[in-house]
């Protein structure tokens, strides 16, 4: 039975990815201008243009072009950057780890603090803590990330300089890029000082990026916990004389997790969108900043590559969330 559900979800993923590639392909064709000319520049000769067009298959019918495009994609070929001719896939690969480090740090902060605030609020509803936390959460969901980032930057890096202004690590302190994750690379290079420096650089961007998801998680955790805490089995657990912490964490939170997991999944798109803005503000050399820079340089090959990669990441994580959901609630595996 589980295989049926998982198989269906995998098929759906393949279908969505195929659609995504089709949308990106069609949109690229809608960009005004000749792709060959974009690639070779305005002084290219007519023969060069014709040769490149033939090479790229631009004269062939659209479905054939899509087939060729799909074939290249499946081999991991995202084309070449119009700016420097480098393969887009490797350009993206270099930046993906920076975004991953930032996004994982932000998600950790958002999940831990968001769930903690939500649980405490639900256990003591209408208390001072609850009121303050929910007010903050409401402010958090309405916050323009790019504004919050700038204000935090001004406050904590300029006015009271306790944290670095931007970047991933001080100039000249970069460790050898083994994993691309600055925290891991600094540790592997054996420098605790460099590790702490990298951590300091991560704090502001990660908190900025975490704000909106944290607020959403806190709100959903509170409402989900409030509902669960009124259930009979919680009353039974209390009546059995279990300690309150066990009742709240083992009995209530576990059952309140389902909607929280859904929200975590939905937040991922938000996090990736937020990364584009956060990376721009903090000069974080990740994928988000790369896509904006590429767009400014009209490097469509790079833009489409990034968008595809973002969509794939989102689709895969949504799948993981679906699986986690099914693991938490057996009913979904059976009826899903």
């Amino acid at each position: 039975m589980p295989l049926g559900y998982f198989g269906k979800r995998l098929l759906h993923l393949a279908f969505v990815l195929l659609g995504v590639s089709l949308i990106v392909f069609l949109m690229l064709r809608m960009i005004p201008g000749d792709p060959a000319r974009l690639l070779l520049g305005e002084f290219a000769s007519a023969e060069d243009l014709a040769r490149l067009r033939a090479q790229m298959g631009l004269e062939r019918p659209l479905p054939v072009q899509y087939g060729l495009y799909l074939g290249r994609l499946l081999q991991g070929d995202l084309g070449r950057s119009l700016r420097n001719g480098a393969p887009v896939a490797s350009e993206i690969g270099q930046r993906l780890t920076a975004t991953a480090e930032l996004a994982v740090a932000a998600m950790l902060i958002a999940t831990v603090l968001g769930i903690a605030a939500g649980v405490v609020s639900a256990v003591r509803p209408y208390s001072l803590f609850d009121t303050a936390a929910m007010l903050l959460a409401l402010l958090g969901v309405s916050m323009p990330v790019f504004w919050l980032g700038l204000m935090l930057m001004y406050l904590l890096a300029v006015r009271f300089p306790v944290l670095p202004l931007m970047g991933r690590i001080g100039m000249g302190n970069e460790p050898e890029a083994l994993t691309g994750l600055m925290l891991v690379d600094t540790l592997l290079a054996g420098g605790l000082e460099a590790f702490l420096e990298a951590l300091e650089h991560l704090v502001l961007p990660a908190f900025t990026l975490a704000t909106v998801p944290m607020a959403i998680i806190a709100r959903i955790t509170r409402s989900s916990m409030l509902e669960v805490l009124q259930q009979d089995y919680v009353r039974t657990a209390r009546a059995k004389g279990l300690e309150e912490s066990v009742v709240v964490l083992r009995h209530a939170l576990r059952n309140a997790l389902l909607p929280i997991v859904t929200v975590l999944g939905l937040n991922l798109g938000l996090l990736l969108s937020g990364a584009v803005l956060t990376e721009t503000i903090f000069s974080w050399p990740g994928l988000g900043r790369y896509v904006v820079d590429s767009l400014m340089a009209r490097d469509y090959a790079a833009v489409q590559g990034c968008i595809l990669v973002f969509a794939v990441i989102m689709a895969v994580i949504n799948l993981v969330v679906d699986f986690a959901y099914a693991a938490l609630d057996p009913r979904i595996r059976i009826h899903g």
């Binding site: 323009p144 790019f146 700038l150 204000m151 300029v158 938000l270 896509v291 489409q304 989102m314």
Partner: protein, 279 residues
């Protein structure tokens, strides 16, 4: 008087009242713009550049010496307009697609919803960025891009309401009496599917304002010298270390308006559609 019940409920809700007040404030500022603005929002004064808040310039001046308060006031018009137009662009096609998909079901339903899934596969701002890249960066194109991005959200919400309504006795009765599809859909199903649409559209106004400001901030939306809040923030970013007020005020304006829509949306949801509370 039953139809006034939701309005009374809304006014009893503290968050909705505060939200309404914030929106009314920004709307008032937008409507009265020229009368309220102390200066011409486009007039540059190089000698007064980057001046901090003062009696003459309560929000200070920007890098060209323009009065930031006046620019924030004019920006209110742009942001309200962005919210209204972007939401309309997603609302109408989204609702129609959701109605058709939910009501007719089968192949039409799968075709429409699979297409919506594909659009939903992109992170919102990236899809908006991609669309503006194709259309070219400008304010109208920003509204179109933000509008297109949220079409699938409305389609999904409307579809799920229609699926439930379709099974209701009154809809089946009208169908048996010979009511045409159009009549059933628009006279009977749509009005009953409205509450979640209204809630989502209100929250969506806030999202649209945020997204458009983000695009402006990235240089892909409204273009300088337009006093759009995101563009102003982006200009202020360069002077953050010496003149933080240039970025602070436009950002605060975005925050106030988005907060207003979120508060009102929350309040509306509690009154109109309590089942959506977990959204």
């Amino acid at each position: 008087m039953a139809e006034w019940e939701p309005v009374a409920g809304l006014l009893r809700s503290k968050s909705a009242t505060l939200g309404l007040a914030l929106i009314a404030f920004v709307l008032g500022v937008a409507l009265l713009g020229p009368a309220l603005a102390p200066h011409d929002p486009f007039r540059t004064a190089p000698l007064e550049r980057l001046a901090g808040p003062s009696a003459a310039h309560p929000f200070g001046t920007d890098s060209l010496g323009r009065d930031i308060l006046s620019r924030v006031i004019y920006g209110a018009r742009i942001s309200i307009l962005i919210g209204l137009i972007s939401v309309s662009i997603s609302l109408f096609p989204g609702t129609l697609l959701g109605l058709v998909a939910g009501y007719f079901g089968r192949r039409l339903d799968s075709a429409i919803m699979r297409a919506m899934d594909m659009l939903l596969a992109f992170p919102a701002i990236l899809l908006a960025i991609f669309i503006t890249a194709i259309l070219g960066p400008s304010l109208p194109n920003t509204m179109i891009a933000v509008g297109i991005v949220y079409i699938p959200h409305y389609a999904r919400i409307v579809r799920s309401s229609v699926l439930a309504l379709k099974e209701q006795l009154f809809v089946q009765a009208i169908a048996h009496l010979g009511g045409g599809h159009g009549r059933i859909l628009f006279r009977h199903v749509l009005p009953n599917a409205l509450p979640p649409i209204i809630v989502y559209a209100t929250l969506g106004m806030g999202t649209a304002v945020l997204q458009a400001a983000a695009l402006g901030f990235l240089g892909l939306g409204a273009q300088p010298p337009q006093p759009e809040w995101g563009v102003m923030l982006s200009e202020g970013r360069q002077y953050l270390q010496i003149a933080p007020h240039v970025a602070a005020f436009p950002g605060a304006a975005i925050f106030v308006l988005v907060l207003g829509f979120n508060l009102l949306g929350d309040g509306l949801r509690d009154v109109l559609d309590p089942t959506l509370r977990s959204m």
